[in-house]
């Protein structure tokens, strides 16, 4: 185990020695992009989302958070319903570190 630990330490030290090169490998800053959603190829809800993206960033941001949270909750509850039928005990567990 000590030998393994020594090897890990050597690896980390080696990486440390390489770091100065990393410092000078910095790339250039990203350029600003102006993106417009293409509403010609979509219909229904997707068209509404794309339109909102183009016209009202604040409403789009609110929708993004609400829809993500709601979709996450729906999927979470659905999977909970399915998993409850697996026959596993999903309400308790033992905590053992080692």
């Amino acid at each position: 185990m000590r030998r393994l630990l020594k090897r890990v330490l050597c690896l980390i030290a080696g990486i440390g020695l390489c770091l100065p090169r990393l410092v000078w490998a910095g790339g250039e800053a990203a350029t600003n992009l102006v993106v417009v959603a293409d509403t010609r190829r979509v219909t229904g809800v997707l068209k509404y989302i794309a339109d909102t993206y183009n016209t009202d960033p604040w409403l789009f941001a609110v929708w993004a958070v609400v829809i993500t949270a709601v979709w996450g909750a729906i999927l979470g509850f659905s999977m909970d319903f399915i998993m409850a039928r697996s026959g596993l005990d999903l309400k308790s567990r033992k905590i053992l570190e080692h």
């Binding site: 630990l5 910095g26 979509v42 949270a69 996450g72 999927l75 999977m79 909970d80 570190e97």
Partner: protein, 346 residues
């Protein structure tokens, strides 16, 4: 085979949607097991599928929020989420992230900010990896010497015991995590990990999870659940800010979340059958792979970096799924045997 491709109206690209489901699934498994968002895995994956980098980060952030919500719900049922601890840490994290972001802006004015960020990122990943393996080696040594400590079993690093002695009011008892300490300890630790997260432009799960274990003294399982609770809140905040900047593809988020819903169940349930140190060691290996991939990328080996990340994701997924399915099969067998013997298990 056109049906396998989906048009993303905001990013303006056509994407192979089963790839999105697969990314969501994999990150769901790994994130649910380690208690982190996993941005370092998703972003290159999305990029490989054809997403422009600007969209990959924002889309990833929203997906992480939804995925963490699913995992948190499952962990909460196991009793792995300490909400009181989570809320205190959320406050520290948010203030820390703001300070970290200000620090980045200050460095930007000085120039060479990206280089410093990379340097700090790799340095801290190396530190975490060292801490995890040193802790394991110490625990093994103690166990061999016959030392058994407390109800959690043998532990290597126990710095948290010293921090728990800090008697600065208010002292708070965290019932689920099972310890009492000054509220300033989790607030301070989350503030520091928040600074790092804001400085590096990441969610921070990579730092918070080990900090919860080694500095605050959470049992590994509760550290995983509580961290996911935090990732969920910070992810929703991140989704909002990235949406305002127009850097998010909602359609992709939905598709990825569908895969993540299944993956998160596997990863979360697997924690039930894994020992704390099993989770810590696998986490340490993931951290090393993440660190090497960053170094490879900076030296211009982008393909090798992506290949390493994808291989890590694949191996980790198989390992975690095996833990889950083996554990579940054993539990079902045990229940059946008990039923046949006329002593059904509850």
């Amino acid at each position: 085979m056109d049906w396998l491709y989906m048009y993303m109206p905001i990013a303006g690209v056509t994407i192979f949607w089963p790839g999105l489901v697969l990314i969501g699934f994999s990150v769901g498994v790994i994130g649910g097991f380690f208690g982190m968002g996993g941005a370092w895995m998703v972003t290159p994956g999305l990029n490989i599928l054809g997403f422009p980098m600007a969209f990959a980060i924002g889309t990833d952030m929203a997906h992480i929020a939804g995925k963490s919500m699913i995992s948190t719900m499952r962990h909460a049922k196991f009793g792995n989420v300490d909400y009181k601890l989570g809320f205190i840490m959320v406050i520290g994290t948010f203030i820390g992230i703001e300070v970290g972001a200000q620090l980045v802006m200050y460095l930007e004015r000085l120039g060479r900010v990206e280089a410093v960020v990379r340097y700090v990122y790799v340095l801290f990943l190396a530190l975490i990896a060292f801490m995890v393996f040193y802790d394991y080696a110490k625990a093994v040594q103690k166990k061999k010497a016959g030392a058994v400590e407390g109800e959690r079993g043998t532990e290597g690093i126990t710095w948290y015991k010293t921090f728990h002695k800090l008697n600065i009011p208010p002292m708070v008892h965290f019932k689920t995590a099972g310890f009492t300490c000054s509220a300033w300890l989790p607030a301070g630790v989350s503030f520091l990990t928040g600074i790092l997260a804001g400085f590096l432009g990441i969610g921070g799960g990579l730092f918070r999870m080990p900090a919860l274990v080694y500095l605050i003294g959470c049992p590994t399982h509760i550290a995983v659940g509580t961290d996911l609770f935090e990732v969920m809140i910070s992810g929703l905040y991140g989704a909002f800010t990235f949406s305002l900047k127009g850097r998010i593809e909602l359609v992709a988020v939905f598709v990825m979340l569908t895969g993540a819903a299944i993956g998160a169940q596997i990863g979360t349930v697997a924690t039930k059958y894994a020992k704390g140190y099993g989770i810590r060691i696998a986490f340490g290996i993931a951290v090393i792979c993440c660190m090497i991939s960053i170094i490879l990328k900076q030296f211009g080996y982008s393909n090798s970096s992506a290949a390493l990340i994808l291989t890590t994701i694949g191996i980790m997924c198989v390992y975690i799924s095996a833990i889950m399915f083996k554990g579940a099969a054993a539990e079902i067998r045990e229940k059946k045997a008990a039923n046949q013997a006329g002593h059904p298990l509850s």
